[in-house]
Amino acid sequence: MMLEVTNVRKDYGLPGGGSVTVLKDIELKVEKGESLSIVGPSGSGKSTLLNIIGGLDTPTSGRVVLDGVDLGGLDESALARVRNKRIGFVFQLHHLLPQCTVLENVLLPTIAGKSGESKEQAESRAVELLERVGLKGFSLHRPGELSGGQRQRVAVVRALINRPGLLLADEPTGSLDRDSSENIAELLVELNRSEDVTLIVVTHSSKLAGKMGRFLQLEGGTLRDGTGAV
């Protein structure tokens, strides 16, 4: 089992006292190489769940086990290592550094922790990945010189540079036009297969969700599959 989410609950405190429960007893098991989408209305807690899975947030209760490692037992720096080596993130906003070139943006995760690859190997993988997403000729461009779709593709490549086992995408097409959204969806599916990376996508888009191997719905803090409870 690649990912096991057990009994996860997330509450948020309210300024005037009391709290609101966003996630209730979430259970989720994901196999290696699987692709799944999570859909749900705004405020349903999709991103919160994704952040908890990715170690960017902590559950109020419950466990998240990734490749046999309980994320709740890790300290800040161990979590950072897990994110760096085992998880790739794609955000709705690409969060590229405008000061760096496309290639440098892609290589950012490689300087956050030692990957075991040499600098040349990392660069060569970055170039290869950029070529695969059709951006080979843009490696020395700045993000400001790219279109929205191109930027998001760079963000995808950045997420894959360290060969993570799990790719988490939070509304990856949310800020793109239709054509670009289509391209990104295809790219994610293709990479899921070719890179053998487990893919979890949080989206509003039923089209994107439909391209995933499994389809889950989050509503009222509970996770169900397209036809019923998981």
Binding site: P15, G16, G17, N51, G54, L56, D57, E76, S77, A80, R81, R83, N84, K85, F89, F91, L93, H95, L97, P98, Q99, C100, L103, E104, L107, L108, P109, T110, I111, A112, G113, R158, A159, N162
Partner: protein
């Protein structure tokens, strides 16, 4: 790709924001490094002036009233392989030819070519010329004379015998000459020669060594020996003193071995008449039947109603020539036949001797002692030895008794014909003889207890001289070198640290620049919050993200520091310009030379980088605590230096916060009122402390109140804001952290600027009171030539030719002076051995003069002057000094001590037992006269504190200046003297106020940045307001009201609290509050702040505000 590349990319990409950070860092560096370079420049100026004062001189023997052979200099120089020069240094006064301009207290230096060799300079007179004088530039300028013009030079005439000895004749204390100015010597011609560590040029007049020696009766002699070496050849004190030991002769201590004509015996005598104790001991212990002789001039020898006036009586060691037998008792006397006949006395009769000794204030006290006649001897053999009478000036060389001028009052009517006949026949041959013990118990004084030592006829003069010399340490007769150069350089090095001083003055400027830099950096970082989140999300640890940011900050700080260092030199130039013009008083008018040391710039740069990094760290540290999600979401709750970091509490939280502020305000206000009440009821003198405490509490309370108002008003607003002003108020209450921070920074800054700026005082307000800085005295006077007489006595005044009517009730406190460093705020050097003033402590004690700020542990502060009379242990004497002298000029505190060397080369400690409040005694240390005269040359009084009634002051000043014109008396109003000292302190305060005000103005740019940040934060909200119909001008007004209200609140709180804190100063009669400049400073801060607010609001609100809505 690596971290450094990322940093490099970021620094370049965000160059617009970074330029601001770099500029702010550059400004802080410029001010910091610039201030330090001011210190370099002042230090360089001091050391350069030391170099100019001393030329190549390394060591000096300072003889003062002791004269040695001028040839000793060449002997010592040859022995050392160094240049050495003999100099005569005498105090004097000088005026231009018509007397319209004069200078008192000048140094008259008798020099020869050798002096210029040691000085490493050219003699400005190519041909040595008598009757010509060379003036240094400072003196020539003061007199307004140049080469070829005439001046009248009056110099102190040294006496062969110390003037304090009763028998020293009252010859003129000074002599005057009309001389032509041969040249004016500038620094390059060694014109500024002086051994005193002072950046202010001494007033020097140079004349020929031989000429001066002849005129003052010291031909072939000198009282100052300078030794110098080239470059790296350092002379050591040890080597030089050893050279003295090998070269010196008896004549160098005024001693002389001479063969007596009649008896053929050998006699040691002194030019100073009395042989000092150390050589006397060596001479009497040298064998060859050495016998001590003490001959004295007695007023009268009486038996019953018969008396013999004015006679010599010798006290002689026992066993000499049969006159004083081994069994002679100390109450027995041997008289010669003439005296026996005159008094009709015989063995067994009791004769009374009357003689003068010197009492306090050189008052003559006639004492008497009775002796039983042991024997009457014929006038033959030793009893006929006229040589027993020493060379008393005014006695030994005169032809008849009526020409005697022995220094004591002589009643010529008492001199009979037979006395004249005796003088004609036997001159000063003693008429009576007592034992040496008896003589010394009557006539020994601090200058010695023997007038001669006699040896057997067969004694070898040279061998005896060597014996004596080898038994005497030359230092004991004042022949010892002092390391004058190292002392001078040390004084310059340790002098007033203008670097630190200007760092202090520039504190607000530096803080303002650093705050600005922090704000700008935060500004930059804030716009990249999401980047930080992304980096964290892809696996960067918080530590690495922190490193990236700090590295960026470091690069900016370094670039700013390098840029700022150059600008710092401009800042230094500006400060030096200020010190040469408007702040001239702070450096006593000295010209400060710009000088920069590389190491200082590196230190300044390094310090600026460190400060910048700390500021950056403080600015962004909390950001590292945010979660990745918060960062990714663009968390931007603004905070700076951890201040104003408030969450978003609910109404209940707001009220609690508001109540906290209110509670703080109430407690602080109550505390302030309580302190003022306690102060009003207390009799304590620590009023200033109470007021400052109350002011500080008001400041904190005011800030608490401002927070409470912002919070409670915000929480309690139920009614919709119905005006632009109402909206402003609501906005101000929303970001309370930000608002309170603005108020806090402004209030604290203004509080300090006003509190320090207002703290100046006019010391003249209560200057007539005894406890004031004037000691209640009307005048402070200083003479170039010592005055021996008691100016309070009718006799003293009469001898000085005063009109007793005009001086009437005028009262004097007279002080002896031992030359030393000026330890006042006028001297930028660190005084090593300050000038000492010897005074009778009772004179000040009974007047209750001056106010003691502190006394040594165990001392009673009400009886500070009494501490001078206490014994403090062997080799320790007590001293009292002004607080500025002790703390600033000496860098010491009460209880510390300073080592001095006495006239006999012995070290002793001057223990600081008391410290006076700011006073006219600044610059010197005051010791008891009794301690003074035991240790130093004693030539009368040169400093005078003068009491005179208000209405008589003008007349008294005129009479004193007239009567003591030839003594070079300079009479200064005590008020003026005190005001001059205070002017220095007040100038420092002005500098602080000005630079502090500039700092606040610079800081107000920060306020503009806050406005900018606020508006950008609320861009969406403002866009909405535009969308619903608000005009741009209305929005600008809203932003302006909101922030200017905060600014006015901050200034008001700071101003009110500061005025309370300096209440005692405001209320004191001596208050000299610079209301105008303080008001201008606060107004300038206000105007500048409002200007920046307006500019920032204009800038932030320009463009299409509706874009903000689309962003939303």
């Amino acid at each position: 790709m690596n971290i450094f590349r990322l940093v490099y990319r970021s620094v370049l990409f965000y160059w617009r924001t970074n330029v601001g950070v770099v500029l702010a860092a550059a400004v802080s560096t410029a001010i910091l490094a610039g201030a330090l370079v001011v210190g370099d420049s002042v230090r360089y100026t001091l050391v350069s002036s030391a170099e100019a004062r001393l030329g190549k001189v390394e060591l000096a023997v300072v003889g003062q009233d002791r004269f040695f052979r001028a040839a000793l200099a060449s002997d010592v120089g040859t022995n050392l392989g160094a240049e050495a020069a003999a100099v005569l240094e005498i105090r004097g006064l000088i005026s231009n030819s018509d007397g319209s301009r004069r200078a008192n207290n000048i140094n008259v230096l008798g020099v020869d070519e050798q002096f210029y060799k040691v000085g490493g300079a050219e003699n400005p007179l190519s041909v040595a010329a008598d009757e010509k004088v060379v003036l240094n530039s400072a003196l020539a300028e003061k007199l307004g004379v140049g080469a070829g013009e005439e001046v009248v030079l009056r110099i102190a005439r040294p006496s062969a015998m110390p003037r304090e000895i009763v028998l020293t004749p009252k010859t003129d204390m000074s002599i005057a000459f009309r001389l032509e100015v041969g040249a004016v010597a500038d620094e390059s011609a060694f014109g500024n020669f002086s051994l005193q560590a002072n950046q202010i040029s001494a007033l020097n007049a140079f004349v020929g060594l031989g000429w001066l020696g002849d005129k003052i009766g010291q031909g072939g002699r000198a009282n100052l020996l300078l030794a110098g070496a080239d470059g790296g050849d350092k002379l050591t004190v040890e080597a030089a003193n050893k050279a003295i030991g090998e070269c010196w002769q008896l004549a160098d201590s005024g001693l002389e071995l001479r063969r007596l004509g009649a008896s053929g015996g050998l006699e040691l005598r002194s030019r100073r008449v009395f042989i000092e104790d150390v050589p006397a001991q060596a001479a009497t212990g040298a064998g060859d039947g050495a016998i001590g002789v003490l001959t004295y001039f007695v007023n009268e020898l009486r038996l019953g109603d018969k008396s013999t006036p004015y006679s010599m009586v010798s006290a002689i060691g026992k066993g000499a020539g049969g006159i004083i037998g081994a069994d002679m008792r100390n109450d027995e006397i041997v008289i010669n036949k003439w005296l026996a006949d005159d008094l009709e006395a015989g063995a067994g009769d009791t004769i009374e001797l009357r003689y003068f000794v010197v009492g306090p204030m050189r008052k003559l006290v006639e004492e008497k002692r009775a002796f039983r006649v042991r024997q009457v001897v014929a006038i033959e053999g030793m009893a006929a030895d006229v040589n027993l009478m020493p060379e008393f000036p005014g006695l030994s060389q005169v032809a008849n008794c009526r020409d005697w001028e022995p220094g004591i009052p002589i009643d010529l009517d008492k001199i009979r014909a037979k006395d004249e006949a005796y003088w004609d026949k036997y001159r000063g041959t003693p008429k009576a003889f007592v034992s040496l013990e008896a003589g010394q118990s009557m006539w020994q004084n601090r200058y010695g207890g023997l007038t001669a030592v006699r040896y057997r006829a067969e004694s070898d003069a040279e061998g005896m001289a060597n014996k004596i010399l080898s038994a005497v340490n030359p230092a004991s007769v004042g022949l010892f070198f002092e390391p004058v150069r190292s002392q001078s350089v040390k004084a310059g090095d340790e002098g007033t640290d203008f670097g630190q001083l200007f760092l202090g003055f520039s504190f607000f400027l530096i803080v303002a620049a650093v705050v600005l830099m922090g704000l700008l950096f935060v500004f930059g970082v804030e716009s990249r919050t999401q980047q930080m989140g992304m980096l964290r999300a892809v696996g960067f640890s918080p530590r690495v993200v922190r490193c990236v940011l700090l590295l960026e900050g470091g690069v900016l700080a370094v670039v700013g520091a390098v840029t700022g260092t150059g600008a710092g030199l401009l800042y230094t130039r500006a400060m030096i310009y200020g010190l040469g013009t408007v702040w001239r008083v702070a450096v006593s008018g000295s010209e400060i030379v710009f000088h920069v040391r590389g190491s200082t710039l590196i230190v300044g740069m390094g310090a600026a980088v460190v400060i910048s990094m700390i500021a950056i760290w403080l600015s962004v540290r909390r950001r590292f605590r945010w979660s990745v999600n918060e960062l990714l979401a663009g968390h931007s709750e603004w905070q700076f230096f951890g201040l104003g970091a408030y969450g978003v509490p609910g109404q209940a939280g707001k009220r609690a916060e508001g109540r906290g502020g209110l509670l703080l305000a109430v407690v602080c206000f109550a505390g302030a009122v309580g302190l003022l009440v306690v102060m009003a009821l207390s009799t304590s003198k620590a009023v200033a402390g109470y007021f400052f405490g109350a002011g500080a509490l008001l400041l904190v309370g005011g800030l608490g109140l401002s927070q409470a108002v912002l919070t409670l008003v915000g929480a309690g607003m139920r009614r919709p804001a119905d005006s632009v002003a109402g909206l402003s108020m609501r906005n101000a209450t929303r970001r309370r952290g930000r608002s309170v921070t603005v108020v806090w920074l402004l209030a604290c800054g203004v509080f300090l600027v006003i509190a320090v700026g207002a703290n100046r005082h006019n010391p003249l307000a209560e200057a007539d009171r005894r406890e004031s800085g004037t000691g209640g005295f009307a005048f402070y006077a200083e003479s170039a030539i010592p005055i021996l007489h008691d100016l309070n006595s009718g006799e003293g005044r009469e001898r000085l030719g005063f009109d007793s009517q005009k001086l009437g009730d005028v009262d004097f406190v007279q002080m002896k002076v031992h030359t030393g460093d000026d330890a006042s705020c006028f001297n930028l050097n660190r005084a090593q051995r300050p000038r000492l003033l010897g005074v009778e402590p009772q004179h000040l004690k009974k007047r209750g003069a001056f106010l003691f700020a502190k006394t040594i542990e165990g001392g009673n502060i009400e009886d500070g002057w009494g501490l001078l009379e206490r014994k403090w242990g062997e080799g320790v004497i007590a001293a009292v000094g002004d607080s500025a002298t002790i703390i600033w000029a000496l860098g010491k505190s009460v209880g510390d001590s300073i080592v001095y060397t006495d006239k006999n080369g012995r070290s002793f400690e001057v223990l600081l037992v008391g410290m006076l409040n700011n006073s006219i005694l600044q610059g010197s240390l005051v010791v008891a006269e009794s301690d003074f005269v035991e240790r130093f040359a004693d030539e009368g009084y040169r400093v005078f504190l003068i009491d005179a009634a208000e209405k008589e002051r003008a007349e008294v000043s005129e009479e004193l200046s007239r009567g003591l014109r030839d003594f070079g008396l300079e009479v200064t109003s005590a008020r003026e003297r005190l005001a001059a000292f205070s002017a220095v302190e007040n100038t420092y305060l002005s500098i602080f106020q000005m630079l502090g005000g500039l700092g606040m103005i610079l800081g107000s740019i920060g306020l503009g940045l806050v406005v900018l940040r606020n508006v950008l934060d609320r861009r969406g909200e403002l866009s909405m307001l535009r969308a619903v119909g608000f005009e741009r001008a209305s929005l600008k007004r809203m932003v302006f009201y909101e922030h200017s209200g905060l600014m006015v609140a901050g200034l008001a709180i700071g101003t009110v609290a500061a005025l309370v804190a300096v209440g005692p100063v405001l209320a004191s009669p001596g208050a000299q509050i610079p209301y105008l400049s303080l008001a201008l400073t606060v107004t300038a801060i206000l105007v500048s702040g409002l200007g920046w607010i307006w500019l920032a609001a204009t800038f932030a609100l320009k463009g299409d505000l509706l874009d903000g809505l689309r962003d939303e």
